[in-house]
Amino acid sequence: MTTASTNTQPAERGWYKRNEIAITPWLFLLPAILFFAVYVIMPIAQSFWISFHAWDGLGEKTWVGTANYERLFGIGDQNMDRKFQISFWNNIKWLFLYLLAIPMGLFIALFLNQTVRGIRLYKSLFFFPFVISQVVVGLVFSWFYLPNDGAFDQIVGLFGIDISGGVLGNPNTATYGIIAAGLWPQTAYCMILYLTGLNAVDPEQVEAARLDGAKGWKMLWYVIVPQLKPATFIAFVVTIVGALRSFDFIAVMTNGGPFGSTRVLSFYMFEESLSEFGFRMGYGAAIAVVLFFIMLGFIVYFLWSMYQDEKGAH
């Protein structure tokens, strides 16, 4: 059954000793797999199961088939759930705008990639926003956006712009205001990835390109960016995951409002399952399943990329 048992060991060395190499990894894996299976793998399956039920979280589950999904997507003679629709489009906005963190992070990294006195401290301080909890960042930004008294309102006021109700009080601007707050720590994260990447850029290639007359944007695009590919990949992964996990900011800054305009799927799911509107766990689970499938597309892509790397390494 194993590679180790092909050795001709003396019979008196017990069964464990003979199969040590085959058994040890499983013993070492056991606790981690157990925890992960109970708290991560099984719950995914259970959520699928619950999404076919009507359930208040306490009593009996009632099988409703695909009714939850029909209500979400408006299949049959009903309209698509408007809250779901808004949440979905907000998720798309988050995904695209959040990706701005990658070029912005690269830009700041290029700006800071020098060796002047005290640059290490500058780099740390630029990275600072990422270390603070999103709840605190959200609070800070909601004060920054306060109508009339907030710094943002006063600054744009200088240009004669007046956002009625303040950034977060206006349904047209609220989501963008929250995304801007989210971009702040995310840019810091991408910056640190690129600073590490820039450190490893091959100086000989840069010199060679310089001799060939490459400089500025051309140098950046054709020589530097290709070498930063691993950093870009990780920046992409963490930014996508971050965009789809955007819950804290919304809960803290607007709680989904005004008029439900800042909901995203993760927030809407939470609201349906655990809020004053009642515990509609089945419907919530159905929303979670939709979100899961959106994420799954990216997960498959991430794993496929990593698999290519693994194959290349051996």
């Binding site: 925890f35 259970q46 020098q114 800070v140 994420m295």
Partner: protein, 282 residues
């Protein structure tokens, strides 16, 4: 080096760069500086509309005193600590073992299990929410620190295993083979050969997980309620409703809540960045 080192450029450029650095930093950290400023202002400044000007009197001791002595903040901070430290120990221990198994041994399903840990690490929290909450309630651990810790350990094991396994892969394998030839038991190889070499990875993960868990908000709201078990991220909302529109106190509270991971970051900066940027360089 790219961009061109500033030393190789004109004197004017150099001075310009040096002068612009602090300006850029202040602009970048403006929101934080504003909160720091808020937290030392007296209440009256906000009533008078003096939001962004200099404080009319220095009230830091007063404001921070209120946070520590007239609110549930100390309790929340303690809860955060009691949640974070066991999670760090648990997740690092589980993943060191799992990483060892996946990094050192070749067996059927190795890559599959590894990918399961990675994939699980990326799933949206919401797909886990209802069943995990249900499980925690039925174990009698709803609104307890234990319930939160168990879940955090399990979830963080995914990311930590990815990290540990890749770190162990990069260790010199002949070392392990040599130990085997000597007839050393496998678990002893783990304990005496591999673990000592993993110290940088253990340190990096410990600081990262500390920060992630300290800053967690979603699971705190889903699995706990009230000051008996809630961590400071969730507690700050209760704190804010206690001091509604008292910006000086809310700011002081936010700074207190944010401080431990910040301190951790500045103390363990090298490990922290090594952990975050794992894989950013091939």
């Amino acid at each position: 080096m790219f961009p061109t080192p500033i030393e190789k450029q004109s004197r004017g450029m150099q001075i310009g760069y040096q002068a612009f650095l602090p300006v850029a930093l202040v602009l970048w950290l403006l929101p934080l500086l504003a909160v720091a400023l808020f937290s030392i202002k007296p209440d009256a400044d906000f009533a008078n509309g003096n939001f962004w000007g200099l404080p009319s009197s220095f009230e830091a001791f007063n404001n921070y005193g209120k946070v520590f002595f007239e609110s549930n903040m100390p309790r929340y901070l303690l809860n955060s600590l009691l949640i974070t430290v066991p999670t760090v120990i648990g997740a690092v221990a589980l993943s060191a073992m799992a990483g060892f198994a996946l990094g050192v041994y070749r067996f059927k399903g190795n890559l599959l299990i590894f990918f399961m840990f990675i994939a699980g690490n990326f799933v949206p929290f919401q797909i886990l929410m209802v069943p995990v909450r249900d499980l925690t309630v039925s174990l009698g651990m709803y609104d307890t620190i234990r319930g939160l810790v168990l879940f955090h350990i399990a979830f963080q094991t995914g990311f930590c295993t990815l990290f540990m396994r890749n770190f162990i892969r990069a260790l010199p394998f002949p070392l392990i083979e040599a130990a085997r030839v000597e007839g050393i038991a496998e678990w002893r190889i783990f304990w005496y050969v591999v673990l000592p070499l993993m110290k940088p990875a253990l340190a990096a993960l410990a600081v990262l997980i500390f920060t992630f868990i300290w800053n967690d908000y979603f699971w705190a709201v889903v699995l706990t309620q009230g000051p008996s078990a809630q961590p400071v991220t969730a507690g700050i909302t209760e704190f804010n409703s206690q001091f509604r529109a008292a910006y000086h106190l809310m700011s002081a509270g936010s700074i207190v809540a944010a401080l431990p991971p910040v301190a951790m970051f500045f103390l363990m900066q090298k490990h922290f960045i090594a952990g975050l940027t794992l894989g950013a360089v091939k």
